[in-house]
């Protein structure tokens, strides 16, 4: 199986603030890759560099065999992204947001969107401004999945979702991955990584450490957080 994500020596600085330093990472096709780490460790910076939101200083990122800078549009056509905070245009209805996300891609995703809304119990008649945090997250999941991308990039996706929805979410990921997709999952929840991920890495202070197995225990996991707190 080929690599869907290949990051080599990625470095991103924010002036005085730390970004990420010399991060190298590969994610294989069909993987559910757990991306762990404390707040401010650099997970979102890495993800946002992959998505082209940030201009990185050094290194290279290849996604689906394409250069993340030169081939950004082609890459994003095959990526389903869910940010850690789900924000949409307040005045739009849920159905309008979902249709808009499909229209911009030039796709008719009504069938898939309908299935996803049913599975996640999304009320498409409501306006975005009327939704709770969790319900906005569900809309974000639909927007990320409806075009059946080859790669999912989820940044802390389960925050705000109730346990039933969390289960439905992971069932959906597993189904898409079984059909050939790949998933990068940034999370703080170790149990999600233990249960669903095939490989994992942990970030701390802008540097990445690959884990031999995603099945790490709580003590080992929390050690990364404690060390990080002490250093802070």
């Amino acid at each position: 199986m080929g690599n869907v994500i290949e990051i080599e020596h990625l470095t991103k600085n924010y002036g005085k603030n730390r970004g990420v330093t010399d991060v190298s990472l590969t994610v294989k096709e069909g993987d559910i890759f757990g991306f762990l780490g404390p707040n401010g460790a650099g997970k979102s910076t890495t993800i946002r560099s992959m998505m082209g939101f940030l201009k990185f200083d050094k290194g290279s990122i290849k996604i689906l065999g394409m250069d993340s800078v030169k081939d950004r549009e082609k890459i994003l056509a095959n990526v389903g992204y869910m940010p850690s905070e789900a924000w949409f245009y307040d005045s739009m209805k849920v159905s309008e947001v979902i249709a808009y996300a499909a229209d911009i891609r030039g796709l008719d995703c009504r069938e898939e969107a309908g299935k996803l809304c049913e599975r996640l119990k999304v009320n498409t008649d409501k306006k975005i401004r009327e939704l709770s945090y969790g319900n906005k997250k569900k809309v974000s999941i639909v927007c990320a999945m409806q075009h059946k991308p080859k790669l999912f990039i989820f940044d802390e996706p389960t925050g705000g979702l109730d346990p039933l929805m969390q289960r439905s979410f992971f069932e959906l990921i597993t189904e898409y991955v079984d059909k050939g997709a790949t998933c990068l999952l940034s999370t703080h929840v170790l149990s999600e990584v233990n249960k669903y991920c095939k490989s994992a890495a942990i970030m701390r202070e802008g540097k990445l450490t690959m884990l031999e197995s995603p099945d790490i225990d709580d003590d080992e996991f929390l050690k990364f957080y404690e060390d990080s707190e002490e250093d802070a």
């Binding site: 082609k74 992204y81 229209d103 911009i104």
Partner: protein
Amino acid sequence: MKKIFLKELKMNLKTLLIWSLSVGGMGLACILLYSSMEGEMKDMADAFSHMGSFSDAFGMSTLSIATLKGYFATEVGAVHGLGGSMFAALIGAGMLSKEEELHTGEFLYSFPVSRKKIVAAKALCIFAMLIMFTLICAGLYASGFAALGEDLPVKEFMKYMGMQFLLDTEIAGICFAISSLSSKTKTGLALGTALMCYAYDIIGRVVPDVKDYLFIGPFSYSNASDIFSGADTEIKGIVFGTALTVLLVVFSFVYYDKRDLAS
């Protein structure tokens, strides 16, 4: 790109209607008030035309406010000039920065559309809104002339509305560039820019030393009194304004494409 353009237009429709009906409505009300003030206007016109620099600054030395044409140029000219430039400043200032300020950027920029195309769609939306704003206001002013049974000085009126559109485009261009620099909408700076340009024009018409540099400001070529009195339009003002607008829009494209986006 078309979808983004249409979405922007739809989302800004309410703002467009509020501003165009407010500015156009105020202008229309001013025109309709003319008939009830016509009698008193003759004395006022005499007084206003002999106030030295003040009369020059507001165009009352070249046009009589006792005529509807002169009244339109001095009164409605100020209302439309200020209102239109403030509207242009507001839509220009928020168009790019609102995506980061309202945290919708990560949704929009995760689509397979380049930043340049998104900036182009947003710039086109501003352009379209300014056209609609100008047309709505022009329609309201023309209906005011019709309601009073007065002939509309078509040539001057068309030239005036065209120059006002150019003025609004320049102000929007300046504020669009400001918007590309920041992740927060600089409403105060945008409105300040429009008001400063207006103030610069007034000062330039009063202070002799500044007169030679009046063309730098966008109100120089769009001055209603100059246009309705048949004075020659300063071509260098139009050239300077157009060049500045193009330069700032190009800058917005280049800079926005290269910078980090806030989450």
